[in-house]
Subunit: 231 residues, 2 copies
């Protein structure tokens, strides 16, 4: 109780109950999405990061490198604008934009709805580019098979320790924009070590979509994932 | 209605009602915070940005530049760790860390609680460093007098258009890390123009806490704000 102004700071149990129900509903819808992807033999990948960590640029380069190897679809999540979808559309793949308005993450229902507008029978690999946010997307399973978190060297090596949930919930950490590591004070060893302390099963790839360094390792991982889905 | 799996995608009005009540409660608590700051003659500033846009580094340099001019207090918001508070504590100012766990923003009640642990009678200028997130903090008034959004040139010039709410809710845009603008493809004119389209009353300062460029303009603005509070 605040002596100065008489306020009381209590936990709102009703809010916690509603949040729990939202997450339970989301988990059920995510399971539906996963079943739908599997029915069509599609590998689904959820890309999460802060704004500007390089998700769309990574997708552009990935689409180029997988040309002729598999058929790709992309669901783009943003608060506003079709800009990312337009960039991906230039690459000649199927794309759907979700604009969330003021909602800070994608959820399974939004992804489900976008999947309905995609030619799933023609797709092998579906990327979902989540809203740029290192916090909220991690709490929502959207029904893909792999969670990937991108951390740009421009963001600082302290981010895994400060934003642990997304690193805990991810299968793969991509450290991006490594071409800029030379001009920044980014302690790669510390960032990776902190991320592995949070999640020891996390795979780590360091890459630059701009210079191409490390992209071969990422592409190999995707091809392995595709093979495992088919077999 | 989905033909494939029978799901229904309806808006949950109960969720919307609860969200509305949360925001109304927060607004009332924010007003209390603002009254408390004013009672003590304190100028309160809310710093918002993506993770890694340079909020803590800006604060470190600002504290150095305002040494002997005014007394500063800082409330640090992070999901986890006391790292930012420790960095600020090294500068010899009063600091309180809020760790939010999985909560993606500060709210007025959290800030209120932290204010209780601060020597308000000794402080002229209170900075609140919000959780690194370009989306959610914008929806919560925390009871300060000025909202400042930082956008780093490393994040890309498309961010104002893609994350409009935080630019709409801010009084000042600081474009940070301008020392890196030369090695990045950042269209300054486009970023500023998009931000001003969203919010024509937004002030804009371009700066680099590292090189010092533009810091004089930021310090002048803070001193002006302090003078206006006292008069």
């Amino acid at each position: 109780m605040c002596q100065d102004c008489g306020c009381s700071l209590t936990t709102n149990t009703k809010v916690l109950e509603v949040q729990k129900r939202i997450l339970e509903k989301n988990d059920a819808e995510a399971a539906q999405n996963r079943a739908k992807l599997e029915k069509h033999g599609i590998l689904g990948i959820n890309l999460m990061s802060s704004p500007g960590a390089g998700k769309t640029t990574l997708l552009e380069k990935t689409i180029e490198l997988l040309d002729g190897i598999c058929s790709i679809g992309v669901i783009e999540g943003d608060l506003e604008t079709e800009r990312d979808a337009e960039r991906i559309r230039q690459k000649g793949v199927a794309v759907q934009q979700i604009t969330t308005g003021q909602t800070c993450h994608l959820d399974a229902a939004m992804v489900h709805s976008a999947m309905h507008r995609m030619p799933l029978e023609e797709i092998d690999l579906l990327f979902v580019e989540n809203v740029g946010n290192l916090v909220c997307p991690a709490a929502y399973d959207i029904g893909t098979h792999m969670n990937v978190v991108l951390l740009s060297v421009t963001e600082g090596d302290d981010k895994p320790a400060k934003y642990p949930l997304v690193f805990l919930k991810s299968d793969l950490l991509l450290i991006t924009k490594t071409d800029l590591a030379g001009v920044l004070e980014f302690d790669m060893e510390k960032a990776v070590s902190d991320a592995l302390t949070i999640n020891p099963r996390l795979q780590v790839i360091k890459l630059s979509a701009k210079s191409g360094d490390g992209m071969d390792e990422w592409i190999t991982l995707l091809r392995k994932g595709l093979e495992d889905r088919i077999s």
